[in-house]
Symmetry: C2
Subunit: 401 residues, 2 copies
């Protein structure tokens, strides 16, 4: 057995990872209906005006505003209706002095008219329309190109596609959009004891949790998980598995990053590339490695499920979002009193899971090997490396999963 190498502070690990990470340049064209959460790879400019014609913004009557100048409820102006214009239909009559056209909201404005009087300010007697209020020029008209002008830059490359931005692209008539590719993340659980869910367990074996949690984290933060079959602890199998995973942008393996003699995975990474660090002064998640193989990033996560998932949130999520060109994760934080004292290991930055009960942060952490440390928690608090205990009643920032 080799004793554990020295650890580096969390911030140093984060800096090393950030320096090795670059946004992906690869693009792909996707259907607009599948584009939510993706990031635009091209500027989107308008091929035409939106709306492509001036339209009524209210149900009512298209008029010459000058005709209505003296209209009041007591002394209405009477105009003759020459046409009724529904939506989707072009007007055929012109509006001139003394006449008007009935218009539905969204219908094209007739030539000549420069205002719309809303129906509530009118009364109709056959084709004789009484107008009860003066209309200002331009009133209740949506101008041609009011929303978007032909040639206008509607959305810039690099913009994340929210719901309303998808709407703006639909407004231009597009059905597809060119976006940056998602980072593809190979997920590889290693260890003789690790068995995929659904298979029978032999004595000494446990189910693979990390493939499921890592795949979910990757999908949640803009990546494409590619789960590899579990590899056993032989140089040959691990080496072959890593080679297969190098088809993707990022390799995340779990297990095999501690110091047992059979922790061969680090040797495999060293043989194919470089280990940039091994060991971080955090808890959980100390035996974590990071390296590069060719142009690909390789994370070696601890096998323990809570260690692995904590590190996925702390180290992997920023990488995914940066590669995917997504903005930083928005974490919900609430300041709550701690329900009972928490001890913290000296010289390790601790991520300590808590449950929120009756407005208090209740310690939920059991052990790094226990997935229930996280599945029965709502979030976590951070305890810095110099703090050895946080007393009950202390106000803490709970960061929600």
């Amino acid at each position: 057995m080799r004793p554990f190498e020295s650890t580096i502070p969390l911030t140093e690990a984060q800096d090393i990872i950030a320096a090795a990470t670059a946004p992906l340049d690869r693009t792909e064209t996707v259907a607009l209906r599948d584009a939510r959460g993706r990031v635009l790879a091209q500027d989107v400019t308008a091929p035409g005006d939106v709306p492509p014609f001036a339209r009524a913004a209210m149900d009512g009557y298209a008029v010459l505003s000058a005709d209505t100048a003296r209209a009041t409820r007591d002394t209405p102006v009477r105009l003759r209706r020459v046409e009724t214009i529904y939506t989707g239909q072009m007007p055929v009559r012109m509006v001139s002095a003394g006449v008007c056209s009935e218009v539905a909201t969204g219908a094209p404005m007739p030539e000549g008219a420069d205002a719309v009087v809303m129906v509530e300010e009118t009364a109709a007697d056959g084709d004789s329309i009484s107008v009860f209020a003066a209309a200002a020029a331009g009133q209740n008209i949506g101008r041609q190109g009011q929303d978007i002008r032909q040639g206008q830059l509607v959305l810039s490359a690099g913009t994340p596609l929210t719901v309303s931005r998808i709407g703006a692209i639909a407004a231009l008539g597009h059905t597809t959009v060119t976006v940056y590719a998602k980072p593809r993340v190979a997920i590889l659980s290693t260890g003789n004891e690790v068995v995929a869910p659904g298979e029978p367990l032999a004595p000494g074996q446990i189910y693979d949790i990390n493939s499921s949690t890592l795949a979910a984290v990757v999908a949640e933060h803009g990546g494409e998980p590619v789960v590899h079959r579990t590899a056993v602890d032989t140089l040959e199998d691990l080496s072959r598995a890593v080679d297969e995973c190098l088809a993707e942008d990022v390799l995340v393996f779990s297990g095999g990053s501690s110091v047992g003699t059979r922790d061969l995975m680090l040797d495999v990474v060293r043989a194919k590339g470089a280990v940039l660090f091994h060991g971080i002064a955090v808890k959980p998640g100390k035996p974590t490695a990071f390296g590069r193989i060719g142009g690909k990033l390789a994370f070696g996560m601890p096998g323990y499920p809570t260690s692995c998932l904590t590190n996925a949130y702390v180290l992997l999520v920023p990488v995914l979002r940066r590669m995917a060109r997504l903005p930083d994760q928005s974490i919900r934080v609430e300041r709550l009193p701690l329900a009972s004292r928490v001890n913290s290991t000296p010289n390790r930055h601790q991520f300590y899971t808590v449950r929120v009960e009756n407005g208090r942060a209740v310690p939920a952490f059991k052990a790094s090997g226990d997935i229930t440390s996280m599945s029965q928690a709502d979030g976590y608090i951070e305890i810095d490396a110099n703090t050895t205990a946080v007393e009950a009643g202390t106000m803490v920032d709970v960061k929600f999963f």
Copy 2:
């Protein structure tokens, strides 16, 4: 033309909608890898202990703690190594007084041993192991069932499946999970002027924005969007379209809910069911209708894209999340100074879009018909019905999209 009916306050509209909404009871079984964001429909209890055996929590030596009681760095205790136990492999030798077994993290504990001494507190000379520190009974051992005990309730029906809860289900060896069905939402854009993106525009026509934005909102909040072909403004076409949409749980149509003579959609809903309200004192989104047809909910959204999408957030999202049994939406709010004065229509609760620039909320609202009112905004502020203006410099709560 029929003048607009009286409006009801927003809160009254929300109450009517809430009273008509119930969580779905329908369930389905999905692959665990697709279960993120779904809601458990059955209690999950553990078929066995996790871990299924006592295991070493550290790389080191499994010992009888009593053997090490007097060990110090200067006066180490020497033990004879009788076995090396790797992960995934069952021990064959017992640990008794004077002997130890080397263990890797996660390997099964050998019989007899009651503690693990970490490798950093030992030195090996062949099979002679020097122990430099006393071990307490139970130290560095993960007990059988420590994470989850056989028969334990691991997750209750009704629990949303976060990443770590998916991990807890994987820990039990399951590959599928029974969840509540997603509410299926039929989306129907109506109006002669409305054309699906990708088709050519005739004069007087515009592209359908609402199908894209509504589908995206539905998908974002736990529903399954089912986009129907656009319907034209004839009783026959609208009636047939509504009948087809009634296969789903919720019907959301847009357009045809204002007061033009060709606004036939409300007549169709009345003929098949009941309109529960028509007209809300909000801006944008006033000409909004809500009704029931059989057991199905029907929303009539304004055709204007910003009105439609605002109402989708305010009225539809709570329905979707309740039907899907998801917790209320968590909206990010920041208190920021308003960059310039905003006027608000009296007697209407206003949702006013803003962009965040240099730490200030900059008004972004153009018109209800302009999707750029939202696509160029980061969020919105709310202005209550009794306020007619908000002055520059006022601190406002910006709610982010």
